[in-house]
Symmetry: C2
Subunit: 406 residues, 2 copies
């Protein structure tokens, strides 16, 4: 059993890096706050006897030797970046539970057959730079390192510049650190486990994701003197797109979601009809056919709205992640660990994307979920119980021990 108090202490100690007045965390990837938590994590890994490597995209790997160093390690971990108004657990729990596992094994003097490597993946959140799960996507070859290094944030800062600014552009080429398999613990970020009173979610699948960049070009005009029928209002156009996305997603019942998360009017003024708006779309399903339908229906709706309102709407797909089906043997391993430890559990689909979803495309991967309060995440009020976090960390450790061999 891991040390629940020590894990809880680490979560709350690191929550100070980017702490917000409302009890959340603002720790955008590769920001000054991210550097703080990275420095903390590096030192904690070194104190635990791990050999730390940083790759060219800033992902951090802490290696604990095994008896058999001829095989790649079991990877464990998650991410330490957060949303602009994020919580204390998303990503953090999985990364610090991996650290807690190492500390527990050290204290108990447990050697494993295979080595273990604990990971902090760069930019899982995707708010500062697109796509989300950026570094693990490059790791599995979905994007080249150079492509990712050139991605820009809203201020025009590239990933390369941001890495250099905080001193986390490492020497290791992306992908050099191999893994035998990968396991990630995370809060559910949804309402199911709590509603069904289950402690452990055995994640067997994950939703696919479609991300779009949109731009509406209507016509700026005087709010007082432009008759309603002559308007080409970019905000009224966006409004119809938002509601269309909502009803398209609802049409598929619980099997799809769709969100417009960003919308920026180009030169806003109270008495000017908005002429230009940039926006983003995020829509998802665990079913590949539904993902195709979402894309088709969204594009059709946008075309119809644009034609009706005589505006131009550009809609560019910037990221497509297929639905994830986690490795059945690893999923069983997670389930066995939960069973052996006596925790209530159920199979579950991840609504969010995770680095494990990327890694699963090139190695066996699986995930462990624990409940979070009211299913709330990507919100400063995100909350989780200490006992649930500890239970998840125990399932994680026992899964890893089963995979690494004692």
């Amino acid at each position: 059993q891991i040390d629940s108090a020590r894990l809880w202490g680490a979560i709350h100690e690191t929550a100070q890096f980017g702490a917000t007045p409302k009890g959340g965390v603002r720790r955008l990837t590769l920001s000054a706050e991210d550097k703080q938590v990275r420095d903390w994590f590096r030192k904690a890994c070194e104190d635990a006897g791990l050999e730390v490597q940083v790759d060219a995209l800033g992902s951090m790997f802490g290696l604990r030797k095994g008896r058999d160093m001829s095989k790649p390690p079991i990877g464990v971990g998650s991410h330490l970046d957060t949303q602009p108004t994020g919580g204390k657990y998303d990503g953090v729990l999985g990364t610090l539970a991996a650290l807690e596992m190492v500390r527990t094994l050290n204290d108990a003097g447990i050697e494993t057959e295979l080595p273990i490597c604990i990971c902090n993946w760069t930019n899982e959140e995707g708010s500062r730079f697109a796509p989300a799960m950026m570094a693990s996507a490059a790791y599995v070859g979905d994007f080249t390192t150079d492509d990712i290094l050139s991605r820009k944030d809203a201020e025009g800062v590239t990933v390369a510049q941001a890495l250099d600014t905080i001193g986390y552009r490492g020497d290791a080429p992306v992908g050099r650190q191999k893994f035998t398999s990968f396991v990630e613990l995370h809060i559910e970020q949804g309402p199911i486990l709590e509603a069904e009173n289950k402690t452990i979610g055995v994640v067997d699948s994950g939703q696919g994701v479609l991300w779009y960049d949109g731009k509406i070009t209507g016509f700026e005009s005087h709010a007082g003197s432009t008759p309603m029928p002559l308007r080409r209002d970019a905000l009224a156009t966006l409004s119809e797109i938002v509601l269309a996305m909502e009803s398209i997603a609802k049409k598929h019942g619980p099997k799809a979601v769709g969100t417009i998360g960003e919308a920026v009017i180009a030169a806003p003024s109270r008495n000017v009809i908005p002429g230009e708006i940039a926006f983003t779309v995020d829509c998802r399903s665990a079913d590949a056919a539904i993902m195709d339908a979402l894309d088709r229906d969204l594009r059709a709706a946008v075309s119809e709205i644009a034609a009706k309102r005589k505006v131009e709407v550009q809609l560019d797909l910037v990221w497509r992640k297929a639905p994830t089906h986690f490795d059945p043997k690893l999923v069983d391993a997670v389930e066995n660990a939960a069973k052996q430890l006596g925790y209530s559990h159920r199979r579950i689909t991840s609504g969010a994307g995770h680095d494990a979803c990327n890694l699963n495309t090139v190695m066996p991967a699986a995930m462990v979920f624990v409940p979070c309060k009211d299913g709330i995440s990507h919100n400063e009020l995100e909350d989780a119980k200490q006992t649930d976090c500890a239970a998840g960390a125990n399932v994680l450790m026992h899964t890893v021990l089963a995979l690494a061999g004692v």
Copy 2:
């Protein structure tokens, strides 16, 4: 007749202050660019022999003596500030036509019975600070000078600070400069004169204005893992409000307009359901009963939408300007001038607000409109013909001469 080429030259010379790449002007009130045009205007007034005064809100008054200095002058002018992406004519034409009139009278050695005072009113546009027509509103006593001085822009800079920064907080108390009456020339900013092929609009009325500040408080949540029915999406809420405002305005046919010009998501991120949005509403009618209906219907729609979506919507009325009915004698004077000069003309309602609308509440006021291309205004593409601008300036001068007496 005024000097058409000199007027045209002045318009294009001042358009350099804040010129945008797309041929428009960005000269927000009390900005560095506004200081440039104010300095230019002050020097031009002084060169024309006018005595320049600046009041405590930065409005500029250039006095040309008359034979009878016991009576207050005839006021003439408009404003030199623009929208963030504004045009070269809105406000500028009326202010520089007043200057051109003085230059013409000087050249011709014409003395008037009453003095004439040409004006540049501070913050007519209302984009940086609310309300629009700010200084003339204070002039007529709708707001106290101290209240206006404390108004803040989006960056938190007060009117007082902005005035001090550019050195245009004048000595003259607001309201000290009296006028016998006031006449303002402006581009129509709407499509009617051009469509009907009329050169002069004899403005007899103006729409009333309602401005609101709105705030939606929904709940930030994960875009991937939050089921559609559990969302409290601030942007979907705004979308329904935008479309409701549109249909409420349309219900009144050509007699009302309604616009959401600003909307800012608090902590935007692609994969976060928007939790908080600040927005503004501008709605108008020339009919006081319809204004009441707009307010009632908007509030009812907002309440219904908020209840349905389980979000909070705050809607604060920040400005209410009653419809304007210009002084019938002055309107006749404008019409007579147009007739005598042989310009085609029609009576017209102003869709936009103007300083003359404020001034009309405490003195006889009237306005002259000239066509603008496609009715476009509050847009960098705003355009007007030199002959129309000159025609408007001639009607303005002849109206003022009739009022001031030669």
